[in-house]
Amino acid sequence: MTETAPFFSDADLAGDFYTRRFQPGPSENTLILNMGPQHPSTHGVLRIVLEVDGEYIVRAEPVLGYLHRMHERMAEEKTYLQYLPNMGRVDYLHALAWNWAFVGAVERLAGIEVPERAEYIRVITTELNRVASHLVWWGAYLLDLGAFTPILYAFEDREWILDLLQTPTGARLTYSYFRPGGVAADIDKEFLKGAKDFAVHMRDRLKMYKDLVTDNIIFRKRLEGIGPISLDMCRRYGATGPVVRGSGLAYDVRRAEPYSVYDRFEFEIPTTGSGDAMGRYRVRMEELEQSLRIIEQAVDSIPEGEIRVKGAPKVKWKAPAGEAYFAVEGGRGKIGVHLVSDGSNRPYRCKLRAPGFSNMSLFGEIARGILLADAVAILGSLDLVIPEMDR
């Protein structure tokens, strides 16, 4: 805390650009508090300038950009294939969804067909990655709420997934595995068996998660009725993913804008009408189960064949001029890549729509009048990944 002690006069008000912009100075009853960028529950380097009255938040303004890397500019300096590794680093938790959004946009732009087996591989790996992403969220959320143990149990299960995904992708976190027209490497029988075994194992663990956390009275009291988000609010802010589903609307890009082979699988879109943090929590927990269902179906029905279409783009491949928007359902919501090409080998413009960005933008509104502890509970329930928001 470098800024003022409480009860300084306005003239003494120090602080940086954003603190100064936030308000002219602390009034008699409130104080300005910087939550982050190095706060334990802002998961990285999110910063929120708060005006608090005791522990009640009067006003909140998130300050972004501490992890901004200008991915969109990098896209304009690299060829389509060279840009792929960036996609694994936008959202480190659900890297494959971003992989998919980008290669999907390239495929839509150039009209590239993807072999069926590659589509199945994409579905299986992306869903595994989604489970891993939700597991990290689950553990970290509980850590925010003061329970230390769940994150280690979650990581125990996530380790299964990382070990599985390591075989085809070669990486454990920042995957760059998908390629325009297919995937980089094939999966083997062992992987498929491992994925099925994992689904069985995970179901068992989900029961334990329910016993340990979901049913816990302290946990429920912390979440129920906290941070209600209405459907109208989701519209105004463009909130997607578990946030909108937690508000009672079954909107999932996998169903709304069907891509790949998702229309062949049976899965439900969980929703709750409550719209509170508990609703979002339960939606995510049910999504784990639904992802497992998709994985099992895909593993059972995966066809043999090519994993990459003949004549798939090479490094210096030139895309046809035009634009394409491709959206996928990421762990945090709707991921969109808007690609504009001028016919050269580099994107003319690549706009990344990060779900976390939109989800976070509503925080300023719901944070009014809540307790500091609830702010932590709400931030966690939005499942923020800062590098994704800042891009």
Binding site: K78, L81, Q82, Y83, L84, P85, N86, G88, R89, T149, Y153, E156, D163, Q166, T167, T169, G170, A171, R172, T174, S176, R179, A184, M208, D211, L212, V213, T214, D215, N216, I217, I218, R220, E224, G248, A250, E268, I269, P270, T271, T272, G273, M278, R282, V283, E286, K314, V315, K316
Partner: protein, 191 residues
Amino acid sequence: MDLGELDARKGFFKETLAGLWSLVVGLKVTGKYFFRPQITVHYPRRTVDNIPSFRGPIELISREEDPAKPKCGACSMCVSACPSGCFTVTKKRPPAPTPEEIAEQKEKEARGEKVKKKAAPKEPERFLYDYSLCSLCGTCVEACPSGALRFSASPYRAAFDRKELVFDLLADLAERAREDRNPPGTGKTTE
């Protein structure tokens, strides 16, 4: 699928008892795991068993006939393919002409004939790889026309200085050839 209410509560006492019971259940879970065996791996004493599937730093693949010579044709495709500019590849210069050859060339020049210079051998003179820049995306492996690059399976290449992370891949290859752990083909090194 609407998840509905989280198990509806009936009455004050039932709710209280259910709440208390949930606390006991939580303790039971952690208590049970207290007596379960550990699952973490004690690193220096034990290592995880799936290191071979890890895609580590790039390495050169040797030719079938000579384990110390790379398949690389020094075409520099990897240099232009790499998104981060990890590679520095220089081609071998043509061998210096012998005095007789110089004389012969001069003779030819005097006669007005076209002089044919000796073609450079398709081999790299230097093949540097800056691991500190590499994001292990594999674009170079896919771009290589002669299939001379692959991921190694060594996760332990670390250094105290960024400069130490610039690997001379030709030297690495020669060393592997010396130690005879360089199976030709596309398979990975065994460590």
